[in-house]
């Protein structure tokens, strides 16, 4: 990995450096993604991030996601620390309220062969860079798949999520990512619960049949009160003429 000299230099030159390093890392990113492909059931894709002062996205590898397909897809992440130069840049980006973006390539989890897994395009998400800084790099990344196992979206939030403008003094806080990762498949929406409802009804009627005296329902017990109440209500309602009704057209 190319690493610039840790000199304190003017802003202009640092930007220049950043541009250069980005270029190099971009190349590296692809290599890492390819190399880290493993033989066991999981496979890995790069997780890339970008944070720039001018907000033009330049993605570099942040880590590698190891995805395991199957009935219960799972995911794990290996990521390196943030370099010192990146830390300063992240703070700079946070100062101008820039964005911290992440992206993952589109993949199809259920495919057998590697060639079928990778698809064209990326899924991107973002948080405000200041939130990233103020949360000391503790983020929650979730990957969403669709019914058939295609990765359709990625989302990132930080905990806490707010930007309060608190200064992060300690550089060490910005070194290690504290990432909570999850992969989510769509929830099966419930259908109408007819079976349970009927079962309950049957059980109630059975109970009533067994022990008609004690197991009477509320309505069975107090039906005369309710009926009486209803009749009373109806009588009082009909005593006063109903809204609009019976009014003459005069």
């Amino acid at each position: 990995m190319a690493r610039p000299l840790p000199f304190k230099i003017a802003v202009v030159s640092s930007v220049l450096f950043i541009v250069c390093t980005n270029f190099v890392r971009c190349n590296n990113g692809r290599k890492v993604g390819d190399v880290m492909d493993t033989e066991f059931s999981g496979f890995s894709v790069p997780l890339e991030h970008s944070f720039e002062v001018d907000d033009v996205a330049k993605f570099r590898v942040r880590g590698a996601l190891v995805l395991k397909a199957g009935r219960e897809p799972s995911v794990s992440l290996t990521q390196s620390q943030l370099s010192e130069e990146d830390r300063t840049k992240l703070k700079e980006v946070a100062a101008v309220d820039g964005l911290y973006r992440v992206r993952v390539p589109r993949v199809f989890l259920q495919a057998d062969r590697q060639t079928e897994r990778q698809m064209e395009g990326y899924l991107t998400a973002f948080v405000r860079a200041c939130a990233m800084v103020e949360s000391h790099l503790s983020d929650v990344i979730s990957l969403h798949t669709d019914v058939s196992g295609y990765l359709i979206g990625v989302s990132i939030v930080t905990l806490p999520g707010a930007c309060r403008g608190t200064e992060v003094e300690d550089e060490v806080d910005l070194e290690v990512f504290n990432t909570t990762l999850s992969i989510m498949a769509p929830v099966n929406a419930p259908g109408p619960e007819t079976a349970l409802f009927l079962e309950r009804m049957e059980m109630e009627s059975e109970k009533k049949g067994k022990n008609p005296q004690e197991q009477k329902s509320f309505f069975a017990k107090y039906w005369y009160l309710i009926l009486g109440g209803a009749i009373f209500l109806m009588v009082t309602n009909s005593a006063q003429p109903p809204a609009g009704g019976g009014r003459e057209q005069s």
Partner: protein
């Protein structure tokens, strides 16, 4: 089971609010207008001299009878939508109207007086070509239907098939009343083939084939005149071709030049003949159109063509027959705003005296398109007539001599695409008062004077109002008419009367008074594309006097994506003097910002296909505001063909940057619809109080989008419906649910913290409703403000589903001013009913097992079936045909929500989801209350006096 029903009934009785319309309230707050659509065929009922019926068959698959005196419907039959109910032909004979429906699938006969069905027969398959009535010896007893490869003859009396014959491809059928039926066909650029059948048994009498290499379509260019003389016009050689069906086997060519006629270059000449009685041959006179405004009346006289009359300029020409007389009505332009219609004798071409009729063209309407003439014989045996003019904007105007408009029907309203309701302006006096506050203070003295003068004006207005009341009170009620005109439009006390701005598919805009349903203004956009999409936005409401309200209509061509803006005043319909920006690039997205320019017009942002943003209005002030706000303006784009949802952020230079991207693979599913929340929605309560007095807070994300996905695989085991809840700012997928074994069409309502959707369950073969509610939990993350960028915790999601006993056409939720009133769902059913279903029945917290807490919370125990109760129909017997959309608007009263349902019909009403808690009833007994109050007052006075006396007496004792 009985127990189940009993329980349900009990709960409904206990918990639901009872709503119904009393008999005397019918039509008081609601109105309905019925339409038929753009007229395709029209016949005047002529078998009775004094008939006042006109039959119309329309492109909306409606067959109806209109009253020619009033324009109202006598009866109407609405067939299926789409090609299945398409009306191919309308033939009328006496009291019967014969219709060919659904590309020749059905043959129907209607009784035209009451609109009853005489008979209906199903025809053999095959694409319909033509139909005609067949008569013999002055009686018409049969109808012939020609399909591509088969001709059949049916009895008019019962529809039974007399005979059916197969034949090679034919296009037209003709009968001249001599016991023969001719089927005419053309092999393009080769020859005409003619087969004559015997009326009695379908036997082929003769078969001839005539060379006609110039002919490609027989219906477009040929017509039979006189005694079976097939006449065709050929634009290439500019000549007429004639063929006697009985004799010759050779076409004679008559160059038009030999008749001294000339065709307008590039115009396809049209030939129109008339056959007043199907049992007799057509007349020998016919019309020939040679140019857009050039018509000729020609006559075939012993094989020679004679020009009877040359009409130039003439926009429209039409034949009409009454008794034995046939006339030609000619519409010719008079000046820019008016046309004159004259009658000419069919036999001689002479102009008939006193038959001029002036038709004033609406400057906000379209050009005349078709002319339907109702001719009748006057007492002195001269011909009188009335005319129904159809214009480009689908308007029907019925005119009597000498130009009195008897009625107009705005049939464009049968196809409303989108609408908005706009508050009416204040009256002049109210505005005067308002204006006082708006202006800058200029000295104490002048302010005082201004105030005094405006108070004086108010007093004057009040006295005038009192006088009017007093004056009206003496008149019987029926005579007091409060006609709404554009001049006296003003907001009522509770803002219940609004202006409905309706945009129709034909490109005509309407302003309709919501109280009475009368059309106050109309405006026809005559230069819109053939396949437009509309989006109507209110840029400035009426609240900013003296600035006029302003609406903007975005008209986008669906094919090219190019868009234009039409800016107008929604109260008067006038085009605004503000010139909208010319949009040269296709527009992808438009969004209305809450930002306002110095004239209080909200800013409209338009995103083009280069992802550049343009603002309208784009004054310096606006651009400056946009620059300041840019980092907090986000928008989303959806490309359903690629399954791509992407989010963008505005930059200060009005370019955009991509910030998030979600891609749904199109191989598996497609994006069907995306629903956000309505921007004018208010939620009063932040949370729900639970049984144990704790609060469950709602997840009220204003940026939340509900994306509906449908599987591409339609197999009933594998099909599914997916719901994605996505934050429109961050692209975060909040919730993802999939309803397996389900299919669309999916109808969605998204409001507050809930999404309700309806789908078809392929497994159980029924319609089901599902509701998703989102809650933050027992604690609110940030109670002061909601920011999508700072809500790290995912909300709790609750979901429940129910069985619904009917399919639905459309769905919308009620909307009130402050959101205090409970919500109802308004569901348009295919049966024409509009159901107001309380949202409390669609609540995922409905418990399976009733507990003390759930009872405390007033939760209805879960029952899998949602019942349709008849008193939930807000439109009682006022069926709304083919509901396509429901629009809801809040009124000034919190309890009241204004509802407009549109489809083929338009229905407007008010709903009170929590009953009228803020209104005294109509029959509130003011007398009783005031007399009781007075009596009590006097009683206290008297008893006080008595007590004093008593005390005094006691003191003396």
């Amino acid at each position: 089971m009985a127990k189940l029903i009993w329980l349900c009934l009990q709960f409904i009785m206990l918990y639901s609010t009872v709503e119904a319309v009393f008999e005397d309230q019918v039509g008081k707050f609601d109105w309905r207008q019925q339409y038929v659509g753009k007229v395709r065929f029209s016949h005047f009922d002529s078998h009775v001299q004094s008939s006042k019926k006109v039959l119309v068959a329309t492109e909306n698959n409606v067959f109806a009878s209109l009253n020619t005196r009033t324009g109202e419907l006598f009866w109407r039959h609405v067939d299926k939508t789409g090609p299945e109910g398409n009306i191919d032909a309308l033939l009328q004979h006496g009291q019967d109207a014969v219709l060919v429906v659904g590309n020749g699938r059905l043959l129907r006969s209607w009784e035209i007086n009451i609109g009853g069905l005489n008979w209906e027969v199903v025809l053999d398959s095959g694409s319909f070509q033509s139909a005609c009535l067949v008569g013999q010896q002055d009686t018409v007893k049969h109808v012939a239907v020609l399909k591509k490869t088969v001709i059949s003859l049916h009895y008019l009396s019962n529809g039974h098939q007399k005979w059916i014959e197969n034949l090679p491809e034919r296009q037209a059928v003709y009968s001249g009343g001599n016991g023969e039926v001719y089927a005419l066909g053309v092999v393009p650029h080769s020859h005409i083939a003619i087969v004559a059948y015997s009326l009695e048994d379908g036997e082929i009498i003769k078969q001839i084939s005539v060379e006609a290499p110039w002919l490609s379509k027989i219906q477009a260019s040929c017509s039979v005149i006189d005694q079976g003389m097939l006449t065709c016009v050929d634009p290439a050689t500019v000549s007429l071709y004639m063929l006697d069906l009985h004799l010759q086997s050779q076409m004679t060519q008559i160059p038009l030049q030999s008749l001294g006629l000339e065709v307008t270059p590039g115009f396809q000449p049209v030939l129109v003949s008339t056959q007043p009685n199907p049992a007799r041959p057509p007349l020998s006179e016919f019309l020939l159109q040679l140019g857009p405004e050039h018509h000729l009346l020609l006559q075939l006289n012993n094989g020679h063509i004679v020009t009877l009359r040359d009409f130039k300029p003439a926009m429209l020409v039409s034949f009409a027959t009454t008794g034995e007389k046939t006339v030609a009505a000619v519409m010719s332009p008079k000046n820019k705003t008016a046309c004159s219609i004259n009658l000419f004798s069919g036999e001689t071409g002479r102009r008939l005296l006193d038959t001029t009729l002036i038709f004033n063209m609406d400057p906000n309407g379209g050009k005349p398109e078709k002319l339907y003439i109702q001719a009748f014989l006057k007492k002195d045996d001269s011909v009188g007539y009335r005319v129904m003019v159809q214009t480009e904007d689908h308007t029907l105007t019925f005119i009597q001599q000498p130009g009195r408009v008897m009625w107009t029907r705005e049939e464009a309203l049968s196809d409303v695409v989108t609408m908005e309701m706009v508050d009416l302006p204040l009256t002049g006096t109210q505005a005067e008062l308002e204006g006082e506050f708006g202006k800058k203070a200029d000295g104490l003295m002048s302010m005082v004077l201004k105030r005094l003068s405006s108070q004086l004006i108010l007093l004057q207005a009040w006295i005038a109002h009192l006088w009017k009341l007093f004056y009206d009170a003496r008149k019987p009620r029926s005579q007091v008419k409060n006609d709404v005109t554009i001049e006296n439009l003003s907001r009522d006390e509770f803002n219940l009367q609004k202006m409905m701005v309706m945009v129709t598919a034909s490109g005509k805009l309407f302003g309709i008074d919501s109280k009475t349903g009368s059309i106050l203004w109309r405006h026809y956009l005559n230069n819109i594309s053939s396949n437009p999409a509309f989006k109507l936005m209110v840029q400035r409401t009426t609240a900013h006097f003296p600035h006029p309200p302003q609406c903007t209509l975005l008209i986008k061509d669906k094919d090219t994506g190019l868009a234009t803006l039409h800016v107008f005043n929604p109260i008067f319909g006038k085009t605004s003097h503000i010139s909208p920006p010319a949009l040269t690039q296709p527009i992808l997205q438009s969004l209305m910002l809450p930002l306002m320019d110095q004239d209080y017009a909200k800013v409209l942002l338009l995103v083009d296909d280069q992802y550049k943003v343009s603002a309208f209005p784009s004054t310096k002030n606006v651009l400056q505001q946009l620059q300041e706000m840019a980092s907090s303006i986000f928008f989303y784009l959806i490309d359903s063909s690629q399954g791509r949802l992407s989010g963008y952020r505005l930059r200060t230079d009005l370019s955009t940057e991509l910030i998030w991207e979600v891609v749904v693979p199109t191989e598996v599913q497609r994006i069907v619809s995306v629903k956000g929340k309505r921007p004018n929605e208010h939620v009063h309560s932040q949370g729900r109080v639970m049984g144990d007095r704790s609060v469950l807070y709602k997840y009220l994300n204003p940026n939340l989008l509900a994306v509906v996905l449908e599987s591409t695989d339609l197999h009933q085991e594998r099909s599914f419906v997916g719901i994605l809840l996505i934050d429109g700012v961050t692209g975060r997928i909040i919730h993802e649910a999939v309803q397996r074994k389900a299919r669309g069409p999916v109808h969605v309502v998204h409001s507050e913290n809930w999404v309700v959707y309806e789908y078809w369950s392929t497994k159980s073969r029924r319609n089901e409703f599902s509701v998703i509610e989102l809650y933050e939990g027992m604690e609110l993350y940030n109670s002061t403000v909601f920011s999508s960028l700072d809500r790290p915790h995912a909300p709790q999601v609750l979901q429940q589903s129910y069985i619904f006993p009917s399919s639905i056409s459309t769905m919308e939720a009620t909307l009130t001013e402050k959101g205090i009133t409970s919500r109802h769902l308004l569901i348009g059913l295919p049966s024409g009913g509009i159901l107001s279903l309380p949202k409390m029945f669609l609540d995922p917290r409905r418990p399976e097992i009733v507990t003390e807490q759930s009872r405390e919370e007033n939760l209805i125990p879960y029952a899998p079936e949602l019942l349709i109760r008849t008193e939930w129909f807000i439109n009682y017997n006022q069926t709304v045909s083919r509901v396509r959309g429901i629009y809801t608007a809040p009124s000034g009263l919190e309890s009241t929500c204004l509802v407009v349902a549109y489809g083929l019909d338009i229905y407007q009403t008010r709903v009170y989801p929590s009953k009228q808690f803020d209104v005294l009833k109509d029959d509130y007994d003011y007398m009783l209350i005031s007399s009781v109050l007075l009596a009590l007052f006097f009683a206290t006075m008297i008893s006080k006096r008595l007590a004093e006396v008593k005390l005094l007496n006691r003191a003396w004792r």
